[in-house]
């Protein structure tokens, strides 16, 4: 009996680790191969404070949480510069270093002998020793860990994490400080892993480095992926299956090493089979999680704003004043000037177009204005404020946002989530309100949902709010991108080829929307190849070639100029 309770306890410990890793891996898309090392650091922190300092159990737990959180949060900074396979490698290196440290720093960790005689915790005046006594404690802790992980994952904060997973650049472009969110998710993940770690140390009463190997890290990643990423239930099921089932093999009448090999074989084969036939895991991410709430709030939104245009007029500036001024921006890539002393002015409330042949540097101008690329020289003034070289998420905060030529939606999120994620200042994106002001968070969430639906209604896609963004037609994706841009609340909007790649029907819809946005007081700048589009919607146009502005004027006038036609179409075409 005790054996089975022990198995349950171990499953719960692994489930906690899995849940903490799932936040990183499933929600934020950050593959960490050092989770076992975090687990180990937490366990050592608890064991050492208990053995050497004589701290009682809840204190050792706090010590473990504190140390692991700081460590995991600190890892974020080197991890910021790398993604994908590099992050796998970086965390793998970290795992190996920490593991070797546990082995070699004998003075502290006792090396491979490990730390023994870790005191059992005393709960309600009773010292708990057996698996049966431990079960309630571990179960309660597991419940807490899952609650926290769930709260973080399925919240505005989790939405931003998923956005980072799906497209990091686009997440910056909607005004989110990606660095901050990565620090948060690494820290929370570390803290939750530490809970499992401290319990593990006290439960086993003995730890050594061999519990915290690279194989264990890999096992945890596999467990999360097999269970289902971005779904905590999946992690629990996964832990039960992949930790619990192998225990059954113990009852085979065979030598231990053969049983171990057999278990590994089954595990490996399962891993291959799952990746091949069910890559989304046992319990897949709930993609269209919102239809029910959508319906409800849709009705609310319809009642609240029956006719008014969704775009709120932003009367921040007087009509004629320039909203955005760029002064002699210069950017070189190698020997090529992508922008060469380029100056332009976006008058408030007007639509300005940037035209020119391919490679003229139009998109680079957007990158320079919004902070995705820092200029070598020159200034950018937004409403008179110098925003040169600020991070993209800051420029969005000051009211300047952009779309991308290649749309860049968060494809594995619903349309509604895409738009909601862009709304600034959500209390649920910060940990403190998320946990300590749940009512305020929930109320804000309802408001933001209504707001996002308004934007979707504005672009005519309210009925697709529950659909996965990646499943939409390309033209619809462009409309969602526009709704997402409007949701940032920015009043200077840079649209990179808003009408390219879609058919006539969508072009006219998008043009109509751009006109309405400008009429509502927003300042718009578009990069566009289609000269008909430019003439139809722009008040003014700048003509660019090789990083310079050649001329400016009314679009019709520019179109009529034979010299520009020659540059644009090549010789003879004009």
């Amino acid at each position: 009996m005790d054996f089975w309770l022990h198995v349950v306890n171990i499953i719960l410990l692994f489930a906690m680790l899995g849940a903490s890793l799932n936040l990183l891996l499933g929600y934020a898309g950050l593959v960490s191969m050092s989770h076992a090392a975090f687990f180990g650091v937490g366990a050592y922190a608890a064991a050492l404070t208990a053995v050497h300092l004589g701290w009682p159990f809840p204190l050792t737990l706090l010590a473990a949480i504190a140390i692991t959180t700081v460590l995991a949060g600190g890892v974020t900074f080197p991890a910021l510069r790398v993604r994908g396979e590099y992050l796998i490698l970086l965390t793998l290196a970290l795992q190996m270093v920490l593991y070797e440290l546990m082995l070699s720093w004998v003075d502290l960790t006792e090396g491979r002998t490990g730390i023994s005689a870790i005191p059992r915790p005393v709960v309600f005046g009773q010292r708990i020793v057996t698996p049966a006594q431990f079960l309630p404690l571990i179960a309660v802790c597991a419940a807490i860990v899952f609650t926290v992980a769930h709260r973080v994952g399925e919240s505005p904060l989790g939405r931003v994490l998923k956005a980072i997973r799906d497209d990091e650049r686009a997440t910056q472009a909607i005004g989110k400080n990606v660095v901050r969110y990565k620090v948060i998710v690494f820290s929370v993940s570390g803290a939750l892993a530490a809970v499992a770690a401290a319990l593990f140390a006290h439960y086993q009463a003995f730890i050594n480095p061999f519990s915290f190997t690279l194989e264990r890290s890999i096992f945890l990643v596999a467990l999360v992926v097999l269970g289902g990423t971005a779904n905590l239930l999946g992690t629990l099921v996964g832990a039960a299956l992949f930790v619990g089932l192998p225990e059954l093999l113990r009852f085979l009448q065979a030598p231990q090493d053969i049983v171990d090999a057999l278990r590994d074989f089954v595990f490996g084969a399962l891993l291959v089979a799952f990746m091949r036939f069910r890559p989304q895991g046992l319990v897949p991410e709930r993609a269209g999680a919102r239809p029910r709430r959508t319906d409800r709030t849709e009705a609310d939104a319809a009642r609240a704003a029956p006719t008014a245009p969704a775009v709120v007029p932003a009367a921040r500036t007087t009509a004629a004043a320039p909203a955005l001024v760029a002064e002699s921006l210069t950017k070189r890539f190698g020997g090529i000037y992508a922008a060469d002393g380029l100056s332009l002015v976006l008058p408030a409330g007007q639509v300005t177009a940037l035209v020119g042949p391919n490679g003229a540097g139009k998109t680079t101008v957007f990158n320079l204005l919004t902070g995705f690329v820092a200029p070598d020289a020159g200034r950018v003034l937004l409403h008179g404020r110098d925003i040169t070289g600020l991070a993209p998420w800051r420029t969005v905060g000051y009211g300047l946002a952009r779309t991308f030529q290649d749309v860049r939606l968060f494809e594995r999120m619903t349309v509604l989530d895409n738009v909601m994620a862009a709304i600034p200042g959500q209390p649920g994106e910060r940990l403190a309100p998320l946990f300590f002001a749940p009512w305020r968070t929930a109320r804000a969430e309802r408001e933001h949902c209504a707001r996002a639906l308004e934007e979707l209604a504005f672009v005519g896609l309210a009925n697709r709010a529950g659909a996965l963004a990646g499943a939409l037609a390309y033209g619809d994706q462009k409309l969602v991108a526009l709704a997402r841009l409007l949701a940032t609340g920015a009043d200077v909007l840079l649209l990179d080829e808003p009408a390219s790649g879609v058919d006539v029907h969508w072009v006219s819809r998008i043009l109509e929307l751009i006109r309405r946005v400008a009429a509502a007081g927003k300042t718009v700048c578009i990069v566009e190849h289609n000269l008909e589009v430019v003439t139809a919607v722009a008040d003014r146009a700048y003509f660019m070639e090789t990083g310079r502005i050649i001329t400016e004027g009314r679009p019709e006038a520019l179109m009529a100029d034979p010299q520009l036609g020659e540059i644009y179409f090549g010789t003879g075409a004009a």
Binding site: V31, P78, R81, V82, G84, E85, Y86, I88, L89, L90, L92, A93, L94, M96, V97, E100, L101, L103, S104, I218, V221, A222, V225, D257, I258, A261, L262, R263, D264, F265, V266, F267, G268, A269, L270, L271, V272, F274, M275, R276, P279
Partner: protein
């Protein structure tokens, strides 16, 4: 280097390269044990088996996975799963004990202050020959050109008539053959065991990332830096640090210069 070739071309995080190596080495060790094959023949067996296993992995694991558009993490995990399963299989079939390669004379050679064994001399010679041959093959032949094209831009290569599936298969075969040879050479000194492939492959991909992905000279230099750091570090630091040095170096390079020592900066 063989791992680097595969990774650069196919962008597959081919962890089970370690399994290919193990299979190839076992084939060589067992065949030479059973039929008393001389070393060059045993190496040829290793290369053949390696190529076969590698190509089979590509055909029956990675290709179907690409068909269902698996993410890179999924492919990585599948590769890992294959490695775990395969290693356990070797363990069950051949037992956990290490197997020595018999019949190759080991002698110490002393050149001034430098002492090494015949095995190490052989390693050096074979390694340089293989590196030179690989570079020559990549730069001088039509197949080499196709591989470099696919590594650079698979879609474009497809457009000009290079079939990337075929190139992938070729790369897997060649890379795996190299791994088989390298593994057998290692086994000459260190014996063969079920888990033997993991460490060399870990070192290999550290070398690849150090040197910069897609750069064959980079991988060679990365390997050199890694070897030097490990051994020089051993002189200064206490012995138990030696295992960490590779990873510390990797960590630092990744933080300071993520594109690798010789890699081109990607935006």
């Amino acid at each position: 280097m063989s791992w680097g070739l595969i990774f650069a071309t196919t962008k597959i995080f081919h962890f089970s390269h370690a399994l290919t190596l193990t299979f190839a080495v076992y084939a060589a060790v067992l065949s030479s044990g059973a039929w008393g094959l001389p070393l060059p023949l045993a190496l040829a067996v290793a290369a053949l088996v390696g190529a076969g296993v590698g190509a089979a992995t590509e055909l029956y694991l990675y290709r179907p996975l690409r068909r269902v558009q698996a993410t890179q993490l999924n492919i990585f995990l599948a590769s890992l799963g294959l490695l775990i399963a395969g290693q356990s299989l070797v363990l069950v079939v051949f037992g956990p004990q290490a197997r020595a390669f018999e019949g190759f004379p080991v002698q110490g050679i002393t050149l001034g202050p430098v002492a090494f064994t015949t095995i190490e001399a052989l390693w050096l010679a074979v390694a340089w020959v293989l590196i030179a041959a690989l570079i020559g093959w990549l730069w001088l032949t039509r197949n080499g050109l196709a591989i470099r094209a696919v590594a650079n831009n698979p879609e474009l290569a497809q457009c000009v008539g290079v079939e990337h599936e075929r190139v992938f298969l070729l790369v897997f075969a060649v890379g795996s053959a190299l791994a088989g040879v390298a593994g057998t050479l290692l086994a000459l000194r260190d014996t063969a065991s079920p888990m033997m492939g993991v460490h060399p492959v870990l070192s290999a991909f550290i070398a690849v990332f150090l040197g910069g992905i897609g750069s064959i000279p980079g991988a060679a230099i990365g390997g050199l830096v890694l070897g030097l750091a490990e051994n020089m570090g051993g002189l200064v630091l206490p012995g138990y640090w030696q295992g960490v040095i590779a990873f510390v170096v990797l960590f630092i390079v990744l933080v300071v210069r993520p594109s690798g020592l010789l890699g081109t900066r990607r935006r």
